[in-house]
């Protein structure tokens, strides 16, 4: 008898906790998760290489993860989604190019490129914040156009850059950096191969995922520090922050700089996993998938957390990886795969933006 009495409250408690967790996870994410599972089942039924798809998914989660994480400080400090992410990306690309030009390879190359892109991104972030500070309330719009301008400005730079390394410049004519620069001989896949292991036929890019999760952990702790919480208060209610003795301008500056730096680190990680550095207009719309991912993860334009980043990265990138081949398999004989990829990725972005309130 007493046993039953004891069992009851604990059972209730569990059920309650589950319901809360369920609500917090959000109906939108449950639908996407269900869709994802359905796709996996379809992939199995159609006899697709499911372990291969899982491998690709893990890689894509790791390579895009840091770019998604870059959204977080911007949202938390109150400037909204960082549509100016390409600014950070350009800093990372510059770091990567310089490193390759100096002939550094392997781990040295990776580490040096990460290290030199940080100060560049800090300076750019400070300038970026100085602009955003003058357009309060319109940060996202201005960020978008600022990024466009910077991408094209840097296109000119890539053309005129005084770099003579034959690996980097166009083979014919010998002037201007290439559109796509292979990293196989420098530091491509360094992180992916680090501690890589296999479960069955699924390859886990351990280093890549570890790097991302480590950054997530750092940001997680930062957001629980005095400065992080001050940033949170600034984003949540600037008047409250001011009346708590917080320097609101400073907090936004820190948020924007962090976001830019993470963007720079993110593109280096992305490029080494992809195996190529892509220049010119490639970074132009790099912010959109990252924004879509964090929104799908449950963030809003005013509030976001690390869990939004991780859930979003996993859901969005997995979906992007497996949806096209499954569509291809369903419509045999047609070349639908690439069209499906574009449709699905942009459809998701559209969906996420209409759900800017977090899909609740």
């Amino acid at each position: 008898m007493s046993k039953i009495e004891n069992a009851d409250p604990s059972l209730n408690r569990q059920r309650f906790d589950f319901a809360t967790a369920f609500r917090e996870f959000g109906i939108a994410r449950i639908i996407i998760l269900a869709f994802l599972l359905a796709l996996f089942v379809l992939a199995l039924v159609k006899g697709l290489d499911v372990p291969g798809l899982l491998t690709d998914s893990l890689t894509r989660i790791g390579m895009n993860g840091t770019l998604i994480l870059a959204m977080l400080p911007a949202v938390v400090c109150g400037v909204g989604m960082n549509f100016g992410l390409p600014l950070g990306i350009l800093c990372g690309l510059l770091g990567g190019i310089l490193t390759i030009n100096w002939g550094l390879v392997g781990w040295a190359g990776l580490i040096v490129s990460l290290l030199i892109s940080i100060p560049i991104a800090v300076v750019v972030g400070l300038l970026y914040h100085a602009v955003l500070d003058r357009v309060r309330g319109e940060e996202m719009m201005v960020g978008t156009y600022l990024a466009y301008a910077a991408v094209f400005g840097m296109s000119i730079f890539w053309m005129l850059a005084p770099i003579r390394n034959p690996k980097l410049i166009y083979a014919v004519g010998g002037k201007g950096l290439r559109q796509t620069i292979s990293m196989t001989e420098t530091f491509g896949k360094v992180l992916n191969d680090f501690l890589q292991f296999k479960i069955g036929n699924v390859t886990v890019p351990t280093g890549l995922l570890l790097f991302w999760l480590l950054l997530c952990l750092l940001v997680y702790f930062f957001l629980r520090s005095k400065t992080g919480l001050a940033m949170l208060a600034t984003g949540s209610n600037p008047s409250y922050a001011t009346s708590s003795g917080i320097n609101v301008g400073n907090m936004k500056r820190i948020g924007v700089v962090m976001s830019t730096v993470l963007g720079a680190l993110g593109i280096i990680v992305f490029s080494q996993s992809y195996g190529f550095i892509q220049l010119y207009t490639a970074p132009q719309s790099a912010a959109f998938p990252a924004i879509a991912a964090i929104l799908i993860g449950g963030a809003t334009l005013r509030k976001a957390s690390i869990s939004n980043v991780i859930i979003g990265a996993v859901l969005f990138q997995t979906l992007l990886t497996i949806a096209p081949p499954v569509t291809q398999a369903l419509m045999e004989g047609s070349e639908i795969s690439e069209i499906a990829r574009v449709m699905i990725s942009n459809g998701m972005i559209l969906y996420a933006l209409t759900r800017a309130t977090g899909g609740r």
Binding site: F221, F222, S225, L229, L232, Y240, S243
Partner: protein
């Protein structure tokens, strides 16, 4: 049915996520009756109104129990539109008017009288011409029904607040089928004379057969106009009575559920004097729109409760905001002999002063965040409290255990009604939000606390608790308190001295025992000419 009823609520119950907010509420309203609905904040009044209006919030959270009978028919309230079609009019606390439109246009919005023309014959009703003459006639009729004499063709933007409220009501009664009018704290933003006018208008409307459900915090208004009174407490109807049986004290008592005592304040060991001054303010000027301060000189005695009173717009609110650095200011403020840098909230906070803002939702709270974070944030930022040990202050991690401990203590001490320290502040009622603001200031353990309008928009019970808590802090910890309030009664209840602000300056400092006449004269600026009132 024995007698004709406009509205009957039968056994209404509602719960949000397992928390019951309404339980078996019964209420009926006859045509032409003014029915007052009173209750503390969080008693369930708003939820009841949301049910009556078929607000989507109710449907989205699982509907409600019981039955709404309107005009003898049971109705399923599904949308606000349906409620309107049935003949329920709503006058909101915040105005739902288009400022750039004229009174007539606002009154007739979306119900314009139109005449056909050739274009509309082709393109439909949307292209018919406005019959401005008839629209204005209707509007004038509605406005004069309220006993008001305003031009129907003025734009709403320039009108005083009180008039806007009347136009809201005119809009509702202009709807031909309106049978029941719900007024949600219509007098909250009005001055006394405006409120009196409104009450007169309500009586006139009632005489014309429109029933009214009147929600308010001001009990004297209830007694002035209501035919019947229903009192809600914690989601239940605790009493229902005709006006003849009601008295302010009794209503207040039933509302709160405990009797309000008016005991003398406890004595101190040593009464504060001018010999021991904690803060000296000289020529303080604050640029706060609507509450400009134009040269205030004030000395605050250590250990006292100083009240700052005065009429709205004369700058009493600006003083605290200026000293705490939230609005641009000039002048000198000295605390314990040290000059405090102005225009710098951090400086003010780190001089052991705290501030409870009059703008609770705007400045006082992080509405989207948890109760505990709201309470701990300021102390954490200014004094590095609630942080784990670490070498570099900006990167020291928050100490969730210490924060939780403090939050739980405050929830208990201040009787904050919530589901727990992690509840979102937005979900709390006004009074409980105010208590969170107080807890936020207490966390700083200040020597001097500036409290602005601590009881604005909160119910009687919470008011008492807030005032008691202030007295308690003052007596037990010796904390100096400067309380700014529009309610003279509460200033006189707990303050040692009351400074009256007139046109941005201190007109004089009165004892709380000073007569009503003295206070009234000083607030109106009469004593500036010198009539034997002791000035500081």
């Amino acid at each position: 049915m024995p007698e004709e009823l406009v509205l009957q609520l039968q056994g209404i119950g509602k719960s949000f996520f397992g928390t019951t907010v309404l339980r078996n509420v019964n209420l009926s309203v006859k045509p032409g009756e003014i029915h007052a609905l009173v209750g503390e904040n969080g008693a369930g009044k708003s939820t009841l109104m949301n049910i009556l209006f078929g607000m989507p919030v109710i449907k989205d959270t699982g509907g409600f129990e019981g039955q709404v009978v309107f005009d003898g028919n049971a109705v399923k309230m599904e949308s606000p539109r349906q409620a309107m079609e049935l003949g329920i009019g709503m006058v909101h606390q915040e105005f739902m008017l288009l400022p750039g439109f004229t009174a007539t246009e606002n009154i007739k919005l979306n119900r314009e009288i139109t005449t056909k023309n050739p274009v509309s014959a082709i393109f439909g009703k949307d292209f018919e011409k406005l019959d401005i003459k008839h629209m204005r006639e209707d509007s004038r009729a509605a406005i004069s029904k309220l006993g008001l004499s305003i031009e129907d063709w003025v734009t709403v933007a320039g009108l005083p607040v009180g008039y806007k409220q009347f136009i809201e009501i005119a809009r509702e009664i202009d709807k031909k089928n309106v049978k029941l009018l719900v007024l949600d704290e219509p007098t909250a933003v009005l001055t006394e004379t405006e409120a009196d006018k409104l009450l007169d208008a309500m009586k006139k409307l009632a005489a014309s057969g429109i029933a009214m459900l009147f929600i308010t915090h001001r009990l004297d208004e209830v007694l002035a106009v209501a035919d019947n009174i229903t009192i809600l407490r914690d989601g239940e109807v605790v009493a229902s009575m005709p006006r003849a049986d009601a008295k302010v004290e009794r209503i207040a008592e039933i509302m709160v559920g405990r009797s309000i005592e008016r005991t003398a304040l406890p004595k101190r060991v040593k009464e504060p004097t001018d010999d021991d001054v904690i803060v000296t303010i000289n020529d303080l000027r604050v640029n706060m729109i609507g509450e400009n301060v134009k040269g205030v000189d004030l000395r605050i005695r250590r250990g006292e409760i100083l009240g700052i009173g005065g009429l709205a717009g004369h700058g009493k609110v600006g003083i605290a905001n200026g000293v705490m650095g939230l609005f641009g200011s000039s002048g000198t403020v000295t605390k314990d002999g040290r000059t405090i840098k102005l225009n710098n909230p951090y400086e003010a906070l780190s001089s052991k002063m705290a501030f409870v803002s009059e703008d609770r939702r705007g400045t006082g709270l992080l509405l989207e965040d948890t109760i505990e974070l709201n309470m701990a944030m300021t102390a954490m930022q200014v004094q590095n409290r609630y942080l784990r040990p670490g070498l570099f202050n900006p990167l020291r991690l928050a100490d969730p255990k210490a924060i939780r401990e403090y939050a739980l203590k405050m929830i208990e001490d201040l009787d904050i009604r919530c589901t727990g320290p992690t509840q979102q502040v937005r979900r709390l009622s006004g009074g409980n939000q105010q208590k969170v603001c107080l807890a936020r200031a207490f966390a700083l353990e200040p020597e001097l606390m500036w409290v602005s309008e601590p009881t604005r928009g909160i119910d009687v019970g919470a008011k008492e608790l807030v005032l008691d808590e202030l007295v308690n802090l003052n007596r037990s910890l010796g904390m100096t308190i400067v309380m700014t309030s529009s309610e003279l009664a509460e200033l006189r209840k707990i303050c040692d001295r009351i400074a009256i602000v007139y046109e941005g300056r201190v007109a004089g400092v009165l004892s709380p025992e000073a007569s009503d006449v003295e206070f009234g004269m000083m607030m109106a600026g009469e004593t500036l000419k010198g009539k034997g009132v002791k000035v500081q």
